[in-house]
Assembly symmetry: C2
Homo-oligomer: 149 residues x 2
């Protein structure tokens, strides 16, 4: 028997819960010449932004800084959350409180790494979430940065 | 207590098992102008290639056909498998046996969709797999298309 679709309100609540619970997300990036890249990174949701940390010299950091936007995937694929958003990068010491909150959440301290790290801040503009085929038609939860009601 | 790393042989066996067991994978792609994209697609391993199906006119199909390569991520992020590979796309009727095997595995039939679909064939060139920090140093299982021994 196919599962019933969750209400949009329930999916929003589940998605915010996934932002808090999920340890890592898959982050796509692309070179200027159109080669795709993908890495899993530890995730911290500060209430407005998905926050990640990665070496400043990494392919992900450099390409996201150039592109200024990307898509991120969370969850097992039978409980999908996809987030498109605007990306900013900043050195760890540009926002010590945010970095400390990231460390507290992720249990790993990029300030102690030999390579300099940056924070990647993803501000969602579109969020899609679904658990089954019944939810695909109404999978959009946020468009143009606004939660749909 | 940190987990002990699995042997390379065990990780190869676990990875081939993941190719067979995992229902979906995250597939990255990129536009020619360097915008990243990411979708979860049903997965079939034919023994040599990871096989996916997607609409011929989709962003993923068009961009992968142009780029000819990409990276795919499987699994929860505490049991990661990442596959870089060469990509070919072909119409469903170009290899009816492969399409039938995909349908049998994935329980969904792209031949019945209104939009024309293509198969995406990813031949692995590099495979990385890890479950924990202890496995990161030796995470490469395949390089240049050859399984490491």
């Amino acid at each position: 028997m196919p599962a019933s679709p969750r209400s949009r309100g329930q999916r929003k609540a589940d998605t915010l819960d996934a932002f808090v619970r999920t340890p890592d997300a898959w982050i796509a990036s692309a070179s200027a010449s159109g080669d795709a890249y993908l890495v899993p990174l530890s995730l911290f949701w500060d209430g407005r932004r998905l926050v990640f940390a990665t070496p400043a010299r990494s392919r992900t950091a450099r390409d996201l800084e150039r592109a200024g936007r990307t898509r991120v995937g969370l969850g097992p694929t039978d409980d999908v959350v996809m987030v498109d958003g605007r990306v900013e990068t900043m050195p760890l010491d540009a926002d010590p409180d945010l970095t400390a909150a990231f460390v507290a959440r992720c249990g790993w301290d990029p300030r102690k790494e030999t390579d300099p790290y940056v924070l990647i801040l993803l501000t969602p503009t579109r969020i899609q979430a679904w658990r089954n085929v019944a939810e695909l038609a109404e999978r959009d939860l946020m468009l143009d940065g606004d939660w749909l009601s």
